[in-house]
Amino acid sequence: MKVNLRINGVNRTTELEPRKTLLDALRENFLLNGTHAGCEHGVCGACTVLIDGEPVRSCLMFAVQADGYEITTIEGLAPAPGELGVLQDAFCETHGLQCGYCTPGMILAAHALLQTTLTPTRDDIVEAISGNICRCTGYGQIIEAVEFAAARLRVANTPRPQHDGLNRELPKHAAPTEGLLEAEKGDQPVAEAK
């Protein structure tokens, strides 16, 4: 059966059997291996992709059902080849991954959450990733990663109090001292060595 899918903003066509899941089609027909195959029966969340912006398990959907939707995989989140999005970078900064198997699904689930709110509560984050299983991190750093990414996105395109744009250090009292996540401290601008 011939299907037309719109994946990461590009129209792609392929020939496949109706029984092929969207997950297998993404990996085998389109060579988008960032979407991981875990349990393949809808339990683990490793295969999460976004369908019209909402997280969905690609193993619980046949590729022939997916035409007409805007499909986003983890490859579609990177701003440019070899670069990381804010959320992806946050996972690195906070050690939000160890083996990395669950990470694409976690990031897509969290991305969908951050598209709706940049001030998620801890409960919102837990609920958003509740369908994704991680066996390494214990989830703590993953939640921290999402909080951190939200914090960074909140201040994106706003003047930063610690920094006057000319790499001159502002007086200490201008910088907030409380409410900073541990990883966020690494965001303080460093004056270039002369």
Binding site: D24, E40, P55, L60, Q65, A109, E127
Partner: protein, 293 residues
């Protein structure tokens, strides 16, 4: 973990879908597929043909009627969860939806799919039975309907015939101003299958007396059941009378034993959860302003 081969058909109309279903014994309906696809993957189901009804316009949408809300079968669970009409008029459905699966499965899973699947521990069938909803069917001879109580006959078993599919669910809307709902369930992990679930809806008059009460239990037996606590109507829903009425009603509750929980445990938990659900429902109803208050 790969499904057996099947033929995939996407009919243009509901009538065509019913004709396709009636013509082929081995055909199955697929909508959100959140239960069917795992069954296919594990080869517990091997239909020759899948009839995809998800995009049929006749099955979509949430419609307001005079004394009911009609929820189209292919309404996504996530969509119903956010819908302002459902939140205002069928609060019990809005209350249980966060317990249905996980966010990604609710984004694909449908209200009608959960009804047609008839899992004894599922929350949406519990709401349908508790509120006395009507299951609307599409058949080769045209539309039909039946009360939810008659629709569910056992675990994953309904009275649906070949050539029929669930088209919508008609949830009654209570006319009273002070309506509150309560819901509790026990499961191994949040969003896993409930061992026992209890849902209650209570309407109070301005003086705080109960006008109408509905109470249902899911997961305990082979299908969701409504408990008869009509003796509480007219009373103040004090804890002694609530406990007594629930104990009496639950005495006839059919509970089953399996590797997760024994029948005795299920019955005991059912009583406890029912009491909590009624208390929560009464509290929520009482929090709504009385006339002139």
């Amino acid at each position: 973990m790969k499904p057996a081969p099947f033929e995939y058909v996407r009919p243009e109309s509901l009538a065509e879908a019913c004709a396709l279903l009636a013509a082929d014994e081995d055909a199955r309906v697929i909508a959100g597929g959140q239960t069917l696809v795992p069954m296919l993957a594990m080869r517990l189901a091997r239909p020759a043909r899948l009839i995809d009804i998800l995009r049929l316009p006749e099955l979509a949408g949430i419609r307001q009627e005079k004394d009911a809300i009609v929820v189209g079968a292919t309404t996504r669970q996530a969509q119903a969860e956010r819908d302002p009409v459902i939140r205002a008029s069928v609060p019990m459905l809005a209350r249980v939806l966060p317990w249905v699966g996980h966010p990604p499965t609710r984004n694909r899973g449908t209200i009608g799919g959960s009804i047609a699947n008839a899992d004894p521990s599922a929350e949406i069938p519990l709401v349908a039975v508790t509120l006395g909803a009507e299951i609307m069917l599409a058949t080769v001879d045209g539309p039909a309907s039946m009360p939810a109580d008659d629709f569910f006959i056992g675990p994953m078993l309904t009275t649906i015939n070949p050539g029929e599919c669930v088209s919508a669910i008609r949830f009654p809307v209570w006319p009273h101003r002070r309506v509150g709902t309560g819901f509790f369930e026990i499961s191994a992990r949040r969003s896993d299958f409930a061992f026992v679930a209890a849902a209650a809806q209570v309407a109070l008059d301005d003086a705080g007396s109960c006008i109408e009460i509905a109470l249902g239990v899911g997961g305990a037996g082979d299908r969701p059941v409504r408990l008869d606590v009509s003796s509480l109507a007219g009373g103040k829903l004090d804890s002694a009378s609530v406990t007594e009425a629930i104990n009496t009603a639950a005495a006839e509750l059919d509970a089953m034993s399996d590797l997760h929980a024994s029948a005795a445990y299920r019955r005991r938990v059912a009583v406890a959860l029912c009491i909590r659900a009624v208390e929560e429902a009464r509290g929520n109803a009482a929090a709504k302003p009385a006339k002139g208050a």
